[in-house]
């Protein structure tokens, strides 16, 4: 900072007589220092109030037995954390994330497939692109209801299966395995579009001459995918993996709206919300939320480590 002002006054010295203003008086200089802060005061205040203060508070709550309302709270040390890792039913919710992780893997493969074929010349390309992407834009509650009816006894799925002569009275949301798989399938339906459009954008930014050159060299579609497309979309692919992992760990909307966490479909976030706002265990819920936050930060950090991403260049 002092460095720039010094340079300014040096360059100004020889042109004293021209109408260019002389070195700014003290008040003006103070203004100049203050200006960026005037622009930043509101954004920073909001950022600290709604992102950093909660994190700090959460760390503090996680060492207490606070219930969220009473003025009294006791320091309990690591008790919340030991409870979290020793009471199996609190920990089991992580297994539910497994279903969503598997679903994310399927989703990424499917998105890659559709992005690849739609990057080539296909009839009604825009129509297919729109259809695949649209679910991502739909309200989560509406999706929840659409699929409650879909899996309902005698609902859409049963009717379609009946068309093919398969009559089932299987309650799709009735057993933990079936319910979790169904919910994970809904989340594929919902989020495939975003992954697909990200991949498509990345593929289309690969210059077309590369394909032509490859074709001249006798490369087939698979070769083109393997050697041109795959390396070209690597940054987007790693980003998608991160988004999927953190999304799987923190899935909330679809299971909460559709089953409310019943029949073994409770996810980590549903459990945390219930602990905090239904059972008034703010202390325990804070510890749980903190564990989840650290997990997600760990995943992100691992990705940044494994695949140094030069796209993040804020300054």
């Amino acid at each position: 900072m002092t460095d720039t002002t010094a340079r300014v006054s040096v360059t100004k010295e020889p042109v004293r007589d021209t109408p260019v203003p002389a070195p700014a008086p003290r008040r003006a200089r103070m203004w100049r220092h203050l200006t960026p802060w005037i622009f930043l005061v509101a954004p920073l205040a909001l950022l600290i109030t709604f992102t950093y203060a909660p994190i700090v508070n959460m760390i503090a709550y996680s060492f207490t037995d606070w219930d969220g309302v009473s003025p009294e709270l006791h320091y309990t040390g690591l008790e919340n954390y030991t409870e979290l890792f020793t009471r199996s039913e609190l920990f089991e919710v992580f297994f539910v994330s497994g279903y969503y992780l598997v679903a994310s893997a399927i989703q990424i493969v499917a998105a890659l497939y559709f992005a690849t074929i739609l990057s080539f010349n296909v009839r009604f390309r825009n129509f297919f692109k729109g259809v695949l992407f649209f679910p991502y834009l739909i309200n989560g509650v509406a999706i929840g209801f659409v699929f409650l009816y879909f899996f309902q006894d005698g609902g859409t799925l049963d009717s379609v299966l009946a068309l093919f002569g398969y009559h089932s009275d299987h309650a799709w949301l009735g057993t933990p395995f079936s319910a979790n798989s169904s919910l994970a399938a809904v989340s594929i339906w919902r989020y495939l579009g975003l992954n697909f459009v990200l991949f498509l954008g990345a593929i289309q930014s690969i210059p077309g001459e590369l394909y032509e050159a490859a074709e001249l060299d006798g490369a087939n579609r698979w070769h083109q995918f393997r050697h041109i497309i795959a390396p070209g979309i690597k940054p987007v692919l790693t980003l998608t993996v991160i988004l999927s992992v953190s999304g799987s760990l923190s899935s909330f909307e679809i299971p909460y709206i559709m089953t409310g966490g019943a029949t073994g479909t409770e996810t980590f976030v549903i459990q945390t919300v219930k602990l905090a706002f239904q059972f008034n265990k703010t202390g325990l819920a804070s510890a749980a939320a903190l564990v989840l936050l650290l997990l997600i930060l760990l995943v992100t950090w691992l990705q940044r480590r494994l695949v140094p991403d030069d796209k993040v260049d804020l300054v």
Binding site: F39, P43, M58, G68, T156, S159, V197, A276
Partner: protein, 276 residues
């Protein structure tokens, strides 16, 4: 058939299958929304057409008893303030970070960067206490403040854009005697129009669809936004799929219209928003 032809058939078959998988659940819900109470209890299958395709009775029920009208009002109110706030906050932050050198700049940038990694769902336990402390709990201001204050993605979008505006424009304005505020207001902000359009679309759709925040912060029946009002259909209309379906279609329809009208901006916006 040559191998190419087989591959082509496979490609189109998979695309048509995907289209069916996407559209069938939605189409069935649309059909259901046009059926009468009697048809539903009379065992009308999910795939059969309604007897009267112009039966909008369920939509009337959804609007009148389901309070969808006031829900749209609340959503619109939140949208206007949250979007205006996000645009102002995002563009000011981007301008300050890109055009000034100041002490602690690195720290400020790092604070914003790190916040982008913190998923909002995890911190609500403690955010709740803060919102409550401000007396904003169960008011429309809680979601507005949270949407405004925790949107790092739009700051990124603005930042990319501010960087592409030549600094020489600022400089020539400064020579004409403009101060930093005039430059922001008269030069930077008007040139940010494409970025503003992107942010408005992305933010608009996100806010319109959000369930978690209004659900947590506005539990009162009179303060329903479209997500929470629709969610409340579950209780009273539990067995009335025709009414629930009408509610779902009412919520989906505006999204479909916006999507068809602004397709290109939407693809662009969400791609930029996600890749930052």
């Amino acid at each position: 058939m040559t191998r190419r032809a087989v591959a082509r058939t496979f490609v189109y078959a998979s695309l048509i299958l995907a289209t069916l998988v996407v559209l069938l659940p939605l189409g069935v819900v649309f059909l259901t929304s046009l059926k009468t109470d009697k048809e539903m209890t009379g065992g009308s299958g999910a795939l059969t057409f309604p007897d009267d395709p112009l039966n909008f009775h369920n939509y009337v029920t959804a609007f009148q008893d389901g309070r969808m009208l006031s829900a749209f009002g609340h959503t619109a109110f939140i949208l206007v303030f949250a979007i205006a706030g996000t645009v102002l906050i995002g563009s000011m932050t981007a301008y300050a970070i890109d055009r000034f050198t100041f002490r602690f700049k690195k720290l400020v940038v790092a604070l914003f960067l790190l916040a982008a990694l913190v998923p909002g769902v995890t911190t609500q336990v403690a955010t709740f206490q803060i919102v409550n402390g401000f007396g904003m709990f169960d008011t429309l201001w809680a979601p507005i403040a949270l949407y405004m204050g925790t949107d790092i993605v739009s700051i990124y979008i603005f930042l990319q854009f501010v960087r592409s505006i030549p600094v020489s424009l600022d400089e020539s304005a400064r020579l004409d005697g403009a101060n930093a505020f005039t430059i922001y207001r008269k030069i930077i902000f008007p040139l940010l129009k494409p970025a503003i359009a992107t942010v408005v679309i992305v933010k608009g759709i996100t806010v319109y669809n959000d369930f978690y925040i209004p659900f947590l912060y506005m539990p009162s029946q009179d303060l329903g936004v479209i997500s929470t009002s629709l969610f409340r259909f579950k209780g009273p209309y539990g067995a009335h799929w025709e009414t629930i379906s009408a509610g779902a279609i009412v919520v989906i329809l505006p999204t479909l219209i916006v999507f068809l009208a602004l397709q290109r901006y939407i693809y662009n916006g969400f791609t930029k928003g996600a890749t930052r």
